[in-house]
Symmetry: C3
Subunit: 345 residues, 3 copies
């Protein structure tokens, strides 16, 4: 299925190998040696391909699939067609992610170093073993790159920056004043570590830049999307916690602390000095004002504007953001009011 | 008028030449040989310049213009001053676009190849005739660049990417996992083809990346603005239809299908797997949620948030988006209600 | 305090030196020779460090600080601990900015030229004295760079662009069709001067690009944030007035005129041909529609959508934007209405 110009299929794998890689159980051990050649969606998979069922909306597709194998929750396996071997998993989408990664690895450790001759690497910079540094990359003084990193074309890594092992930096990305953990993925065109938006105002004389003396600290396995901007701290650091995923064009202001395993959807913004605790989800195009605390597990719906602290687990929506039920109640009230006004005319 | 440091005037042209290039009719054939040296707005144009009248708000400026020639709708031509020759067109702004392009071409096919010596082009990459490849460009393995393309400084074209004839790629843009038609214009700093925002969540163990195995397919004559981000598909492709124009800092999620001749204004976002049919307009800073269908010719006002399918031709506004008349009715109702509350105090 | 990998402390300084650099007055002249080694926040500063008190919320921290010196308003100085020398200033945050800049300069004029050998500088381009041009930079024909400029790695400066003295251009930024004053700071990944979003529509034949024949004119000491996009004018110029500060991911359309000392917060957008007069503040994620005038000193709250002219000094919020008091009144009215509806059920 995947275009061979862009994706190299590492298969085939036996059902046993796939079950092992994703922690699933084979529904029929007699098929352990069956060979699977690719992944595909339920409605397109063929006899030597594997698919998955995660959403009950697609049960009908599942019962009619031609897939040779399918990852499925144990409760639904009995509805599989006779020709479809089942890999049973309580978390089929996660299991699919791991199976698909087996066919198409997403974070491959380079097996040897490959430094393009056009890359400009300062003498005082250090690189770990087995790094790939593509054409046009610039790595400046005292930067320290861990083992197995892949720095893509024309990326810029400024002085003193540190990357843990196994990081990927996208083309045309810029890193300055930051320290990255291991396995961090920076997408192309992201800009990290520039001076925060801090200045004093003298009404008679204009603006005076306040030096921004903090850094950006990025935890293990964080992903930062294309075109994102993350400013360094003003004194404290800007911190992105372990495992957090940030979509494209997201803005993170200075001194922001993002907890672990947060999800920030495209084009949202978090203003200076705000703290997101762990497992917070911020929807696309939402904004969180500065100096707030958003509690563990809180969810901010897309396009919301959060102006106050949010308690752990709360789901908020609207502008100013309010509990999501209240938001939809207000939407309904206003609709009703407006209808009434219309009738009166 | 235009600064010669940045723009090279290809004129002068006779009125006949200009009329031909834009399909207009001369109001007075005796002036066919009159020479025009530049374009200019109505209020600034002089005797050897050409202007246009497209909006009736500017009729007064038209009647007082010093322009030697003016493109105008036939119905308004009789109001022209005596010294102003008219080029009659039912679509004056389109005609002006073509006339201005004659003076200042926007998509010029290079007349010869010019590959800067600092560009890094993989041996297995292929370039058509008459391409310009500027300094610092990186073109990776198996990429195929059509004839007459212009790749600007420090742009990165990753492995396997294909460009049709006559494409322009802006400085510091990155292309990966994508296939472009002919005449496509990618503005500087756009990031196209990176991995979509897809991962499975295991509450006990974090996030697991789902390989994104699709591509970005961009139709003929599409324009993608500065700093835009377009993710490749998860399995299906992300598709941008022929002729569509995308402004700056727009986010397009994985699997999105944008139809032909759509207009996406700056900072809007379209979430994963949504389909925009043809001729859809999405206003600035609007968001369209995932897995929706927006019908042919629908218009989404700026700053709206679309949470449901939109029928062809509908005009929507607000958050959640509603028909535009209903939006303004609600705005009025709420204003009235709040006034009433104020009086009671 | 500041990480020496990224920041070089230029201290120590005597209290006299610090008082002079920020125009403050020493509370006790007998301590004029006391040496201060660094800046730090009130709650972390030690005996040889200087802090500041700007916000009355932190008076308690001030009374308990261990800082050897503190910048403070004369009215509050008497509450200082005995071991804390006071620098008296009517604008303590501004004074702090200047003191911190003494320790950690933000706009240092290079003391000598340093052109990296990998930079590609056209023969017809000119550079002033003492410029730093980093690796991978491309400077094209006829570009003119003032004295003391610092162009960071892989930035692209296209043909004809002019920079005044003392400008900084961030990594991976692109400048075309623009003229910059002195002391301008362009952050990494900003894209300035590309063609504006202008085209004519022929319903039967698609879109026709209107050549964009203006420039971007950027006044002295302007700062343009990471990932911003500023389109050049269509005929008139796009103008950013002296001293204005633009945060990250801001979009400025063609022909926009931004006055002096405006503040545009992250992810806001200003549509084509709109004029912001001086001292206008636009909050994060706000949008200002096209062809409007926003009066001197007006303030647009975050996430607002301005659809009409705004008078000088007005504070606006909401979508469509209204006076801020009216906005909160409407929020309260709707909340009340929705509560009432709830009770009825």
């Amino acid at each position: 299925m995947a275009d061979p110009r862009f994706f190299q299929n590492q298969g085939p794998f036996t059902l046993t190998e796939l079950a092992q890689c994703c922690g699933a159980k084979l529904s029929d051990e007699s098929l352990a040696a069956k060979e699977i050649h690719d992944v595909a969606p339920l409605d397109r998979a063929t006899a030597n391909q594997i698919s998955f069922l995660d959403n009950r909306k697609y049960v009908k597709q599942f019962t009619e699939t031609k897939a040779g194998a399918c990852i499925v929750h144990p409760d639904l396996a009995e509805q599989a067609p006779a020709h479809t071997s089942c890999l049973l998993s309580p978390l089929p989408y996660k299991a699919y992610a791991l199976v698909a990664q087996a066919f198409y690895p997403v974070l491959t450790a380079p097996s040897a170093s490959a430094i393009h001759k056009s890359a400009i690497i300062a003498e005082t910079a250090t690189l770990g073993e087995n790094c790939i540094v593509e054409a046009g990359v610039v790595i400046d003084d005292q930067a320290r790159i861990g083992a197995g990193c892949h720095i893509k074309a024309n990326a810029v890594i400024q002085a003193g920056v540190e990357l843990g092992d196994g990081c990927q930096v996208g083309a045309n990305a810029t890193l300055s004043h930051c320290l990255l953990g291991k396995g961090v993925v920076i997408y192309p065109g992201a800009q990290i570590g520039q001076r925060g938006f801090g200045f004093a105002i003298d009404p008679a004389a204009g603006f005076f830049t306040v030096p921004q003396l903090g850094r950006v600290i990025i935890g293990d396995y964080v992903e930062v999307g294309a075109g994102c901007t993350i400013d360094r701290g003003a004194g404290p650091d800007t911190v992105i916690g372990r495992g957090t995923r940030i979509d494209n064009l997201v803005q993170i202001g200075h001194n922001v602390q993002v907890g672990e395993f947060c999800v920030l959807v495209a084009q949202c913004g978090v203003a200076g000095s705000t703290k997101l605790e762990n497992y917070v989800m911020v929807g696309g195009q939402s904004a969180v004002a500065g100096h707030l605390t958003i509690g563990t597990g809180a969810k901010i719906a897309g396009k919301s504007g959060v102006m106050r602290d949010v308690k752990p687990g709360q789901e908020m929506m609207g502008y100013p953001a309010m509990p999501i039920k209240e938001f939809f109640r207000q939407v309904a009230s206003l609709k009703k009011l407006s209808k009434k006004g219309k009738k009166k005319k």
